[in-house]
């Protein structure tokens, strides 16, 4: 009987079909595709240049860093591609490409690989890189936003980058690749309008069909323009509808857990309703949906138990609300998620779920799960 090479691995001998890291990453890339399409329509081909630079730099950073750190190169798991794409999503549509490249390297090379590689990173890599840029000398390039459809006066394919006017110190202008200043001006995002108090009238959902003006009579973006994407903002956060379509796909595929976005958006919206602080604008005006569905749900940096997920999600929702209501920033999604990324490890360690058959106790009685470790071991 021919049995020359029988495999002898340990049970179980079956594996769920197609359950791989690549599949999950491919799912995320696919889910973000609708948002990419809308971003191209609203902000022109500049978006494509930024995404391309970000993804290529992310991939290269992973290869180079893993070679330096003597790890197996795992480009095929597509995680660097996802980080690259999400990082691009967090940038204004006119970010200079060299800034994009620096940021993408920070995301994959530093925030992911230096922290130990996929699975070991404490922070969401794309978010950490984004916040690093925000507090760096390059902040100016990543905090100025242009109007939607600015490309109508510049040309669809023309690369445009935020730049500083040499004549007037501190003034921001927009230049094409060859250095010509182009006819584009900085515009406020819905949330910065809110923050600066320039949004005086409460939201009224005025119908604004595609092609019509994105500003209502009161001089502010209408409900539909914030929802469909005719507003100033980062590349990825522009169209809530596109994000929701992608998110629905991910929830359907069980790539992300619905509890996290539900907790974040629920807690945040509840606070905005209670304080009556333009709840609809707050909901659709910024990066809340992008953060809640695509960044807070990152496997590596979110808790693993259902109970932990709820705590984490509600925590993020509350933090975003606090930052927007009381803090100096108009946004706050990135900071809130990063703060709770740190707490994830603690949540997973101390908010244990009861084992099968264990007597049910309220969760707060079960803290902490681990006995205090002996001093000798504790410090190592």
């Amino acid at each position: 009987m021919a049995n020359n090479k029988l495999l002898t691995t340990v049970a179980p001998h079956l594996h769920e079909k197609g359950q791989t890291i690549e599949r999950a990453m491919r799912d995320v890339l696919l889910a973000l595709a609708p948002a990419v399409v809308v971003a191209i329509v609203v902000y022109g081909m500049n978006v494509v240049y930024i995404i391309a630079v970000s993804m290529i730099t992310a991939g290269l950073s992973e290869v180079v860093m893993r070679k330096i750190l003597r790890r197996k190169v795992t480009l095929s798991d597509l995680s660097a591609m996802v980080t690259g794409l999400i990082f691009a999503f967090l940038l204004p549509p006119t970010t200079p490409l060299w800034v994009v490249a620096i940021g993408a390297f920070l995301a994959v090379g530093v925030a992911k690989e230096l922290f130990g590689g996929l699975g070991k990173n404490v922070f969401n890599p794309a978010l950490l890189a984004r916040v690093a840029l925000m507090i760096s000398p390059l902040a100016l390039y990543t905090t100025k936003f242009v109007e939607p459809f600015y490309w109508k006066s510049v040309g669809f394919f023309t690369p445009v980058a935020t730049s500083i006017d040499n004549a007037v110190a501190g003034r921001v202008v927009y230049k094409s690749l060859v250095g010509n200043t182009v006819n584009t001006v900085t515009s406020a995002t819905p949330l910065s309008l809110l923050k600066s108090g320039r949004l005086l009238v409460d939201t009224v959902a005025g119908p604004t069909p595609v092609g019509a003006t994105w500003v209502t009579d009161a001089g502010r973006p209408s409900f539909w323009s914030t929802f469909l994407g005719f507003k100033s903002g980062c590349i990825g956060e522009v169209c809530i509808l596109a994000l929701l379509i992608g998110a629905a796909y991910l929830v359907y595929r069980r790539t992300i857990d619905w509890r996290i976005p539900a907790g974040i958006i629920g807690a945040f919206f509840a606070i905005m309703l209670i304080t009556w602080n333009h709840p609809i604008y707050q909901l659709f005006g910024g990066g809340l949906f992008l953060g809640a569905f695509f960044m807070a749900t990152d496997w590596v940096t979110s808790p693993m138990t259902r109970r932990g997920k709820w705590i984490y999600a509600v925590g993020i929702g509350v933090f975003i609300a606090l930052i927007r209501l009381l803090g100096p920033l108009p946004e706050g999604v990135a900071i809130a998620i990063l703060q709770w990324n740190v707490l994830t490890l603690l949540i997973d360690r101390y908010i244990a779920k009861p084992k099968f058959g264990e007597v049910k106790k309220p969760w707060f009685n079960r803290l902490p799960v681990f006995p205090k470790r002996k001093a000798a071991e504790g410090e190592t």
């Binding site: 009987m1 021919a2 049995n3 090479k5 029988l6 495999l7 002898t8 691995t9 340990v10 049970a11 179980p12 001998h13 079956l14 594996h15 769920e16 079909k17 359950q19 791989t20 890291i21 599949r23 999950a24 795992t74 798991d77 590689g117 996929l118 699975g119 070991k120 857990d257 496997w299 590596v300 979110s302 808790p303 693993m304 138990t305 997973d348 244990a352 779920k353 009861p354 084992k355 099968f356 058959g357 264990e358 007597v359 799960v369 681990f370």
Partner: protein, 441 residues
Amino acid sequence: MRKTGYKTFRRGGIHPPYHKELSSGKAITRAPVPSRLMVPLRQHIGAPNKPLVSPGDRVTVGQKIGDADAFVSAPVHSPVAGRVEVIEDVKSFSGETVTSIIIAADAEQPPFEEQKIKPLDELSAEEIREIAGEAGLVGMGGAAFPTRVKLSPPEDKPIESVIINGCECEPFLTCDHRLMIERTDELVQALGLMIRAVGADGGVIGVESNKMDAALKLRAAVSDQPNLDVEVLEVKYPEGAEKQLIFAITGREVPPGKLPSEVGCLVQNVGTAIALYEAASAGKPLYERVVTVTGPGVKEPGNLIAKVGTPISTLIEACGGFLGETAKVIIGGPMTGWAQEDLDAPVVKGTSGVVALTPELIDVREEEACVRCAKCVEACPMYLMPNSIVEAVQHGDWEKAELWGALDCFECGCCTFTCPAYIPHVEYVRKAKAEIATLKG
């Protein structure tokens, strides 16, 4: 969760590809008797047996050839008439070496001589336990725990219901399914015996809904007995795990580290029940069992009655040999069974199946770093966090591995099945269990 309307355990579990159709329609047949049988002296959990025969001795069918004094043990009996060749170490299905009695079988095999003990209705609880012990009965679902011990629950923990485990949630296996269909009445009578042995109020037979034919037949058979019931359960792995089955049927959770008697239940496998019936009605000890020989790598899958000690190569030959490129041969089911290096391992009392897998069903990859996706946490039917156990083991922190519940894990393999990083959690858990056992002495 998919809603089917049938009872099931609450959280965790997976839906592996079942492929039961390969052998579920095949009636039970007898496997040929090999010329040389290797009967391991220890086929159960508990104390090993001492041989009662020496090389050169003649043995008859059903003769006791190994026994131990310990309570937690089960004697072994000769499956054939023949001559003891030698007593030596043989590699078992799990790779351990077990002292075994090698028997050369006679060319002519006389049938087993039935002994009438007493009408079944007149057997007392103590007598039933004694019969189970003398016949060498063990749990035939795979764990092989001595049945006599199971039928002797502690005095302070009365058993309310006896549950017959007809789930057979392991993919591919169909031996219990066939037994339920072909020996329905005997199964119901065996359930009656077990109820009497432990003084329970009633009994339930749990059957997954992919074996509706068996469930309906059983239902008809118990319809005139008010204390018996058949519960159809959702098809979900591991529905047939002891604690999950009790939870599905009664809604009670067996506490960590405790036995089913804690919640007033006793679970017995279908094969064990049939063996108890045979032992009680005809005095027949457990020396043969139904083994499902199946898989896409086997030419004619089937359910065979095989003598204990039959090498699995004999069974595969009896099923027409291998078909195409067989890459893996498993003793047991594909979720918890043991992959074999060669085909020499003998059938034992706990062998429920021999599964030959072809490459397209095998997905073995290099282990990657955990991405904390929590799929294992969602899949764990014991509500553990398998990846945390793995992490503790990787750090050599056995204390923490135990705190994370390494000892509560019964190695169903749901976590590894669903892991996108291909982490072999079960392997790590076994390591943790061994280390914790050594530390505790």
